[in-house]
């Protein structure tokens, strides 16, 4: 009954999460809007494009009712640029994640604002209280980062899962032969895996227990999670008693400092005589 897995998402769960990403689809048949638990699906009228979650897009593709439009970052030119950035320009860190989506404002022509429901109250004016609701900050897999309009040259968070799914099931929709895209993806996977492995060396420095991994992908995290978490936890447990003594000493030093160090001055004066 109870889930026997250790904390942290497994690869299967990450793949499940990635299937919630939205992708652009070109339908081949009409389909009415279906009332799903997660909202209504858009009405499909060929040849208009529509945005659907990946799991639904794959289902339609398997039944030959739609074609999937691959996102712009999966184009071989874009992948080559990313590989170049990862190997030559920034061999230490991962390539940056895509920028947050922005939208032009209706009420202030010429200004663009970050895509956030609280800022869209400008247009709808239904909510007088537009305080920043934490739930309204969109993050993967709810960011529109795999639709046809997403910017090229950036790897979204679920890039590996989405790329694998699209290559396996929609290989004929790719802008280039699937083999070419696959080989580029392999290169990318290798480069980033090497970076992931070497990132732990940054942890060796001063026994630090924190590390920033900006731009890492979901599947890479899932694969290395056990290793990294085990490493940090292991270092922490080994140094637990040393850390406890260090904190006690710091506490005492702070408390001793509060009393003004009178004891030391007295003894100095005594010695000066």
């Amino acid at each position: 009954m109870a889930l026997p897995l250790p904390p942290g998402l497994t690869q299967n769960e990450v793949a499940f999460l990635a299937e919630m990403e939205m992708v652009t689809v070109v339908p081949r048949q009409r389909l009415d809007s279906i009332d799903l638990l997660g909202g209504k699906t858009p009405q499909l009228r060929p040849p208009h494009r529509a945005q659907l979650p990946l799991w639904l897009a794959l289902l339609l593709k398997k039944q030959r009712r739609a074609n999937i439009v691959p996102p712009a970052w999966m184009h071989p030119a874009s992948l080559a640029e990313i590989i170049h950035r990862e190997t030559k320009e920034d061999p230490e860190a991962f390539s940056p994640p895509p920028p947050p989506p922005s939208r032009a404002l209706y009420s202030q022509p010429g200004t663009a604002r970050r895509l956030n429901p609280s800022y869209l109250d400008d247009f709808t004016q239904t909510q007088p209280d537009s305080q920043q609701d934490p739930n309204s900050i969109l993050s993967p897999p709810f960011l529109p980062s795999n639709v046809a309009e997403s910017p090229a040259g950036y790897l979204p968070y679920h890039w590996l899962e989405v790329a694998e799914a699209l290559l396996t099931h929609a290989g004929d929709d790719m802008p280039a032969p699937a083999g070419e895209v696959r080989s580029l993806l392999r290169d990318l996977v290798e480069v980033r895996a090497a970076k992931m492995r070497s990132s732990t060396s940054a942890l060796e420095g001063f026994g630090d227990a924190w590390l920033t991994l900006r731009g890492v992908g979901a599947m890479e995290l899932a694969e290395n999670r056990a290793f990294l978490a085990g490493l940090v936890d292991g270092v922490r447990k080994i140094g637990a008693s040393a850390e406890a003594t260090r904190r006690e000493e710091e506490e005492e030093a702070r408390r001793g400092g509060d009393y003004g160090g009178d004891g030391d001055e007295d003894s100095d004066e005594d010695m000066g005589l």
Partner: protein, 221 residues
């Protein structure tokens, strides 16, 4: 169709995210968070699970209705609805199973502390109490009954060591920052302050990350 509908179709993101999508996002975030932390998180407030349970029940009824209808056009919609239903059920099941696993691991810890008891839903609390009772009675019948009466308790705190296990609040977790933030991190040899930008993925101790996650400045990954 009036002008508002047409405008909404042209610029599809210009209206409020509907409640169902927000529920799905909340459910997903709650699931990821619960799977990633070593300790039990508070039961989601604002009636999220009651709404989701209701909707799942109604959807199952709808599926049963549609299965009886032999029209080939509704067949495909049926497949889609069933697939999505399975996905929802998987999320809900995995979420609940994770919570039960965490409760089982540190039963007395969650029952004895008042603050922690409010984190469980009513059903979970009833389950935890009954489980603890069954376990204790089982131990008493097996071997604990032979101990002297003074040693038959499971929550002994004598001798500066408590018998109740606490979950390890310093385990490493991965978070994604939703806003730029300065995080105070505790390490083995040094403590430091980490300046994080939005979109950073950081690994640090759960005790450091907890404040950020509760305020909504970061989410678990």
């Amino acid at each position: 169709m009036d002008i508002d509908d047409i405008l909404r179709e042209v610029d599809p993101v210009s209206h409020q995210i509907p409640q169902e999508t927000r529920d799905l996002q909340d459910l997903t975030r709650a699931w990821v968070a619960e799977r990633s932390t070593p300790e039990l998180l508070p039961w989601p407030s604002n009636g999220l699970f009651e709404r989701i349970n209701d909707k799942i029940k109604r959807q199952i009824e709808k599926v049963e209705e549609m299965t009886g209808d032999m029209d080939p056009k509704t067949n495909f919609a049926l497949i889609v609805i069933q697939t999505e239903l399975e996905r929802y059920k998987y999320l809900v099941r995995s979420f609940l199973r994770t919570r039960i696993a965490k409760i089982d691991k540190h039963l007395l810890h969650y029952i004895s502390n008042d603050n922690l008891r409010t984190r469980m839903s009513q059903i979970e609390e009833a389950y935890a109490r009954r489980h603890q009772l069954l376990l204790h009675n089982h131990y008493l019948n097996s071997f604990l009954g032979t101990f002297p009466p003074a040693m038959q308790n499971l929550n002994d705190t004598a001798g500066n060591i408590s018998m109740i296990d606490n979950p390890d609040l310093d385990s490493a977790v991965f978070i994604r920052l939703l806003k730029d933030a300065e995080i105070e991190c505790h390490g083995v040899d040094v403590d430091g302050v980490l300046t994080g930008k939005e979109g950073d993925i950081v690994i640090l101790r759960w005790s450091d990350a907890k404040g950020l996650v509760e305020r909504g400045d970061a989410e678990l990954v």
